[in-house]
């Protein structure tokens, strides 16, 4: 029985290599199709209802605009158009036809055929340096957030002690602590007990005896402070998201970075002055009683509004509602708002007020049991309007009623808003309430804006340098290593396809200009593995080994060297990824993917080709 041939892969190995190439190759295909102008419609509740597409279609029909194709999914509607002229017309028509809770945005959509879309393929995400847009890094003023919190607690403590009928104490706020001075030790003990019962989980108390008298020092405990700060960030993100939606930006990125920062990325936005203005504004909420005596519809129609009332509109139904002029409570009094459930298991929002707000609120609600109360959400919105044929933007104050509920009992420091439709709505209202209450100021600490022409230029230059570098290396390898060089060239081409395919497959991966540089560098370095192998084969041949044995030895001896060399480069790439920011991360990603892919193509890929060609020959003359 003859020994198994040295240089033949079993069938499954060939099939495996082929399968990897075909599958990943398939997912790299979308990048070949050009982008088309499109408009994207979504709803700020996150769920796009079925009624939206017909409304939009009718609106477009009236204007005589025909969408080239329509795409539903991910709770958004994407309409593609053949040119930007139609896209802009459709954008305007969409904004007019749909209410303010729909977000209509200009976008670029891939024009790949439906079968590619059906297997979940999508093109690579392009970084802002390639597609154009603004990147902001916002620093949330945590000092302000905690100062505000300690301020609220100082007021709350004052009310609490007064309600406990304690007399002759003084509350002062210094830095990050509240100092409460008592007349004697007994009243301090009493005060301590009262406060501990109410705020023990949020504040730390320490009794201090000194020349200042009998002091009780309260500080916000670590957990509450962390919560306060994390809520400040969350609420800012929510507010920013709403505002960005108003700008009509497709695929914005708004996320937390580190403990105190927020990244805002707005692809396609050019007007950075406008964007900065909008990101800086603040929102709030107000509680008002509903005027149930007058008919709001009549008031809205006739314009005769009863004295002491103001006409508002409800956010969802757009129906008018009359509210009392007196504000019961403003968002400033809200310490916290969380979504939860009421005693019947229905969604609710639980609100915590500071002492001053609670005192006032409990008095007013006691007087108004069984009456309707409304929550008004106030925000600065941006409207786009036409002036002399030019698009202009203006920031206006918008006041909408987000919730109306009947007061069931006297409300105090903690109460809940019921009558919400869903947990989703409760979650959102809680966020909005926090947004109104705790808006910690933000400061832009980093900005990177790339204009659309520079973005396109970066893409073009990147493509050009990849192609030229690629061709140069291919020619050089083919000349130097002949047939083996051509095998390496094929592997290199496959490597490129794999990098693009994997970049398209990983949802979070983004191609940046340094990322392109990483691909270029990979093209140069990927052949290294082949160079190592081929040099080794040449050496084996020179040492008088048979061709088949030389191929075998060349591949196996070079393997550990290749692995060592690549692992160390990978270490550098991973460090880059961990420490790098934005575009640098992009470089690390393509470099890492390139290294891993090149191991596959340069070792397994070329071996398969070499085996196919030489494997069955008895004593071939190797063209290496």
């Amino acid at each position: 029985m003859a020994a198994a041939p040295l240089n033949q892969y079993p069938l499954w190995k060939h099939l495996f290599i082929l399968a990897v190439i075909v599958i990943i190759g398939l997912y790299s295909l979308p990048n070949l199709y050009p982008s088309m102008p499109a408009i994207q419609v979504s709803h700020d509740s996150g769920v796009l209802d079925a009624a939206t597409p017909p409304v939009l279609r009718r609106a477009l029909q009236e204007k005589g605009i025909q969408a080239q194709s329509e795409d539903h999914g991910d709770n958004r509607l994407l309409l593609r158009f053949t040119d930007t002229e139609q896209q802009l017309q459709a954008f305007e028509a969409g904004k007019q036809a749909l209410d303010g809770r729909h977000v209509v945005a200009l976008n670029l959509a891939n024009s790949m055929p439906g079968w590619l879309r059906s297997i979940g393929a999508s093109p690579m995400n392009l970084g802002l340096d390639l597609r154009g847009g603004v990147h902001f890094l916002l620093q949330v003023d945590m000092k302000a957030a905690s100062a505000k919190a300690i301020n609220n607690y100082a007021a709350a403590v004052r009310v609490e002690l007064r309600e406990a009928k304690l007399r002759r104490f003084s509350v002062t706020q210094t830095g990050d602590e509240v100092k409460i001075r008592f007349r004697d030790a007994a009243s301090r003990d009493a005060g301590h007990e009262v406060l501990n019962k109410e705020y023990g989980t949020e504040l730390d108390f320490a009794e201090v005896d000194g020349n200042e008298g009998f002091l009780l020092v309260a500080t916000i405990n670590e957990e509450t402070m962390r919560e306060t700060q994390s809520l400040a960030i969350q609420q800012n993100i929510q507010t920013l998201r709403n505002r960005v939606n108003e700008l009509g930006v497709a695929e914005p990125v708004i996320q937390q970075q580190g403990a105190e920062r927020i990244v805002v990325q707005l692809p396609g936005v050019q007007d950075t002055a406008q964007a900065k203005e909008i990101l800086g504004a603040t929102a709030t909420v107000e509680f008002r009683m509903v005027n149930e005596q007058a008919d709001p519809f009549e008031a809205a129609e006739t314009g005769r509004i009863p004295t002491g009332s103001i006409l508002y509109y409800e956010r969802d139904s757009k129906s008018p509602i009359l509210l009392k002029r007196d504000v019961m409570l403003t968002g400033d009094s809200i310490i916290n708002a969380n979504s939860g459930f009421d005693e019947n298991g229905l969604p609710a929002v639980i609100i915590t007020l500071d002492g001053k707000g609670a005192a006032r609120f409990s008095k007013v609600t006691a007087e108004n049991i069984k009456k309707l109360m409304a929550v008004v959400f106030i925000d600065n919105k941006t409207v786009i309007f036409n002036q002399d044929g030019e698009q202009r933007r203006r920031t206006v104050k918008s006041e909408e009623v987000v919730s109306v509920a009947r007061i069931q009992e006297q409300l105090g420091k903690r109460f809940q808003i019921e009558g919400l439709d869903s947990t989703h709505e409760a979650l959102k209202l809680a966020l909005l309430l926090r947004a109104g209450a705790l808006a910690a100021p933000v400061e832009i600490v980093e900005e990177r804006t790339v204009g659309p022409s520079l973005g396109q230029q970066n893409i073009d230059l990147g493509k050009k340098s990849i192609i030229i570098g690629f061709i140069l290396v291919m020619i050089f390898m083919a000349l130097y290593y002949r047939l083996f060089g051509i095998a390496a060239d094929l592997a290199l081409a496959v490597n490129l396809v794999l990098i693009i395919g994997i970049m398209s497959l990983i949802p979070g991966a983004t191609l940046t200009l340094p990322g392109i540089a990483g691909i270029v560098l990979t093209v140069g370095m990927a052949v290294d593995a082949n160079v190592l192998i081929f040099e080794r084969i040449r050496e084996e041949l020179r040492n008088g080994n048979s061709p088949q044995a030389s191929i075998h030895a060349g591949y196996s001896k070079a393997l550990s060297t290749i692995a060592d060399a690549n692992v160390t480069t990978l270490i550098a790439a991973i460090v880059l990824f961990v420490f790098g920011t934005g575009p640098i991360k992009g470089f690390a990603v393509t470099l890492s993917i390139g290294i891993v892919c090149s191991m596959f193509t340069a070792i397994m890929g070329t071996r398969a080709l070499v085996n196919l060609y030489y494997g069955s020959q008895k004593s071939p003359r190797l063209a290496v």
């Binding site: 600490v445 790339v450 050009k464 030229i468 000349l479 140069g524 060399a565 990978l570 550098a572 880059l576």
Partner: protein
């Protein structure tokens, strides 16, 4: 095709004194350049504002400067970028607190009368972010070196590890020295390039080390110097080939990649040249200086050592 003859026998180690002198001189020049001129740090690290505008026609710098001066932006640095139609304006971090991020808006407003233009790029980095990026960059370099030190020590031996890190430090110092000497702007992309250089140079060093280890184990009766020399000769054509293919793509990147990627590709080109040289001279000479010998690498020496890569 072959660039080198079959049985290469260059006495690399014999010329190591000369090479070390050359390295020493270059390192001294680099350090002096860094100390005397410093690095021309980009706004990524210093903080500040950068605005790139593209005019529809070529433009003189003087009217641009005057327009900025008229708006009170008197510490702006104005220069052409790539072509005579593109202008780059740099401003240090604004003094007043409110002004920091909106400085670019003022620049753009001030430039509007100077011609039909388009804003191509705006970058603003706050002072604290710049400081953080600087610290993070330094840390990244440090962690990469430590990671490599550990990996090489595990896979080879501690002397190899020291040798490779010596080569890497050598490379980094020379590339940074090059940037100090030429005052080419040192920004985040250059830092990334520097880490890529570390990866590349190490790649080169490992290949030589791998061969040195193999030869120590299988060549009997030879001096360390001869073994190292043979190993370098055996891997030399590979070292050259990989450097050539990498340099080919880097030159393509330098020539066609655009202005933004220029400093990045320069850093890599210098780094690949230096890295190729250092893996031969710095890394291997260090092994010799640290007295690596056959006994250190024989797997039989210590049975519990699992770092021998090539079981045959």
């Amino acid at each position: 095709m072959q660039l080198l003859k079959d049985k290469l026998n260059i006495d690399f180690m014999g010329k190591r004194k000369l090479a070390l002198t050359a390295s020493g001189v270059l390192i001294v020049i680099s350090i002096v350049a860094m100390a005397a001129r410093g690095l021309n740090l980009g706004i990524d690290f210093t903080g500040g504002t950068l605005v790139e505008v593209g005019y529809s026609d070529s433009v003189q710098l003087e009217p641009v400067r005057e327009a900025l001066l008229a708006s009170g932006l008197d510490d702006a640095i104005v220069q052409h970028f790539g072509t005579s139609r593109d202008v780059l304006i740099r401003l240090p971090v604004a003094e007043s607190d409110r002004d920091k991020a909106s400085l670019s808006n003022r620049v753009i407003r001030a430039l509007e009368p100077t011609g039909s233009l388009e804003v191509r790029r705006v970058e603003f980095v706050g002072p604290q972010v710049g400081g953080e990026l600087r610290d993070k960059g330094g840390l990244a370099m440090l962690y990469a070196l430590i990671g490599i030190l550990v990996y090489v020590a595990l896979r080879f031996e501690w002397r190899f590890s020291l040798g490779s890190v010596a080569a890497l430090v050598h490379d980094v110092v020379l590339v940074v020295g090059f940037f100090a000497l030429t005052q080419t702007e040192f920004d985040l992309t250059v830092l990334a390039a520097l880490l890529a250089v570390i990866g590349y140079s190490l790649n080169d060093t490992i290949v030589v080390f791998d061969r040195i280890r193999e030869n120590f184990r299988c060549i009997r009766k030879s001096t360390s110097e001869k073994v190292i020399n043979t190993s370098i000769n055996q891997t030399f054509s590979r070292t050259l080939m990989t450097s050539i293919t990498t340099l080919l793509v880097l030159i393509a990147l330098f020539l066609f990649g655009g202005e933004v990627i220029h400093a990045f590709s320069i850093a890599l080109i210098v780094g690949v040249l230096v890295g190729t040289y250092s893996s031969i001279y710095v890394a291997s000479t260090s092994l010799l200086a640290l007295n690596v010998s056959k006994e250190d690498l024989m797997p039989v020496e210590s049975a519990n050592r699992s770092d021998d890569g090539s079981q045959v």
